[in-house]
């Protein structure tokens, strides 16, 4: 039975779902009301973040133990909601430019957000699955939102086929876990630790994790990332690479930290190492900025897995801080890329997304070049920016678990990554302008860029502000 208290303890989820349903209803009858729907979406997201802060330092199990509210879930929910808010703020200018300014865009973004919240908060494998499907299906549709562009359609099809295939792995894993534990609730699965050594449970959780490794873009399952990120509309790429990844990491990290024992640290470490290798080395050869950022996102998934592989008290703390820093810098970079991109009727490729087009940007558009430089420096891990502390905490967590070789190689790969980030910076500042275009920036995208850049500095100089939010320590 569902009690009234359950609704009170899941206000953010309710706000997001109800406003998503309302936007569909409005969208069916009033085609011209996109402006209001945009405002409603933003208000819903801000309200959801506001109410989420109220759940910090509280613990509930709601909806018959299907959802769980605690510090970890609230933290990941806030970061995911924040990523959605930043990208929605800047999305309007982009979708107007590309003439895809439909109300469905906002309802799908809201539905995917509801899916993320369900996933992150779930305390049962069924809700994990349903939330993941809600998020993924919304993303499949949003990826192909630019229907006049063949690149977008192609990437939507690729993403859908591979994603559906991987969902099969996930379901098979869930069914094996259910077969051996007789329950899908985390409460019962984690109750008896002797089952963790059972081969069926191991295979089941491995398949379950494969489904999430796909969503995170980790090594053997990363192949879809560059193609899909390049083909999707740029704001959606930003949304997928940050909010989608936060949801996947936020769901699987507690699961791994609870279930996996020290014996599997090596497997995770090797996957992390290979992911960083593939991401960083392949990025060196790219010239399309969306692909560079896609490979940088693969590499970031590798860094995150370094923290997860540590499997100690610092894991969740460091992973969440890195995710916040990553959201700020990666999303900020994608917003700027979406502003520089040119609309083009009737061509199949995206225009103005090559790094050659960024030559001399500092001279023609310093208001874009300066924040992009900040974000790229932060991605490269240069102090005193948030990205530096994000990596610092992750590698520190790994060293605590005696994974010194992994930390050293992660630092090495981080240094390699500086090459392709700095290449863009050099193109922007030290090359003559490729063209004299001055890009028009609306107030909303510039607001989101400002927020992202400000927070990149803030958490870079005072990283302890982030942890001060939580009075009780993480488990």
């Amino acid at each position: 039975m569902i009690k009234t208290i359950d609704f009170l303890n899941s206000i953010p989820l309710l706000i997001i779902s109800v406003s998503a349903v309302i936007t569909i209803l409005v969208g069916s009858f009033y085609k011209k009301s996109t402006k209001y729907v945009y405002a409603v979406t933003l208000i819903a997201l801000i309200a959801a973040i506001y109410y989420s802060f109220g759940y910090l330092d509280k613990e509930y199990l709601i909806y018959n133990n299907f959802l769980r509210v605690n510090n970890i879930t609230t933290l990941f929910s806030i970061i995911a909601l924040f990523a959605v808010l930043l990208s929605t703020l800047s999305a309007k200018a982009y979708i107007e430019k590309e003439e895809i300014n439909f109300i469905e865009f906002y309802s799908l973004v809201l539905f995917s957000t509801a899916g993320m919240l369900i996933m992150i908060q779930s305390y049962n494998l069924i809700t994990v699955f349903v939330g993941l499907e809600l998020m993924s299906i919304s993303f499949y549709i949003l990826t192909g939102f630019l229907r006049k562009r063949i690149k977008s359609n192609e990437s939507a099809l690729k993403y859908f086929l591979l994603g559906a295939f991987m969902t099969g792995f996930l379901l098979f894993g869930i069914s094996l876990i259910y077969g051996i534990t007789g329950s899908m609730s985390y409460a019962n699965i984690f109750q008896d630790t002797s089952v963790f050594k059972n081969p069926v449970f191991l295979i089941g959780s491995a398949l379950f994790m494969i489904g999430f490794f796909f969503k995170m873009g980790l090594f053997p399952f990363h192949l879809w990332v560059p193609d899909v990120y390049e083909g999707a509309p740029t704001t959606i790429t930003g949304l997928m690479s940050t909010a989608g990844k936060i949801a996947a990491v936020g769901t699987i990290t507690p699961f791994i930290v609870y279930t996996a024992s020290d014996n599997f640290r090596l497997i995770f470490s090797i996957i992390a190492l290979l992911t960083m290798l593939i991401g960083n080395v392949t990025a060196l050869a790219q010239s399309n900025i969306k692909r560079i950022l896609a490979f940088s996102s693969i590499a970031s998934a590798g860094y995150i897995l370094v923290g997860v592989a540590a499997m100690n008290d610092l894991s969740i703390k460091s992973v969440s801080f890195y995710l916040l820093a990553y959201t700020l810098m990666q999303l900020g970079a994608f917003i700027i890329v979406s502003l520089i991109e040119k609309p083009a009727e009737g061509i199949n490729e995206y225009r103005n997304v090559d790094i050659e087009d960024y030559k001399g940007l500092a001279r023609t558009n310093p208001q874009l070049a300066i924040p992009l430089t900040i974000f790229l420096f932060s991605l490269g891990g240069i102090p005193p920016l948030a990205g530096f502390w994000g990596k610092y905490y992750l590698f520190y967590a790994a060293i605590q678990s005696n994974l010194i070789w992994l930390s050293i190689s992660a630092i090495l790969f981080s240094v390699i990554s500086l090459y392709y980030y700095l290449k863009i910076v050099v193109y922007m500042w030290f090359n003559p302008p490729a063209n004299g275009d001055v890009y028009k920036i609306d107030s909303m995208p510039s607001l989101s860029i400002l927020i992202a850049a400000f927070l990149t500095f803030l958490f870079g100089i005072f990283p302890q502000y982030f942890f001060a939010l939580f009075k009780t320590p993480f488990k």
């Binding site: 039975m1 569909i24 209803l25 069916s28 009858f29």
Partner: protein
Amino acid sequence: MFADYGQILVFMLFAIAFVAIAFFVALFLAPKKPSYSKESTYECGEDTEGETWVRFNVRYYVVALIFIIFDVEVVFLFPWAVVFKELGLFAFVEMAVFLIILILGFVYVLAKGDLQWDKPQPVIPELKRQIFKVDSN
């Protein structure tokens, strides 16, 4: 309960056997005298035209998809209907929420005109050239 499915199985076996027997009996008993007109495709006496495989209109697809969605809904309605009396108003409200959300999708599809068939635009013959010279005076 379980025996009821045995009846279905027996029924199916009979159905398969019936078709198979009829087929084989025809195969052995029927005289075989093929000719050109016997071998040709029967289309009510008309000459056949084009291929058997035709491309369907994409609009059927939307109809089929809506069918699937509501098919799944009906599957959920079964167990609801069985326990409805037991659970009362509570179950009613829950199913109402479920149905409203799905019907919203249907309203969306209707309002967007996805179920509307394109009416063929009649091509009205238009005369480009003047046949009769109209005297302007």
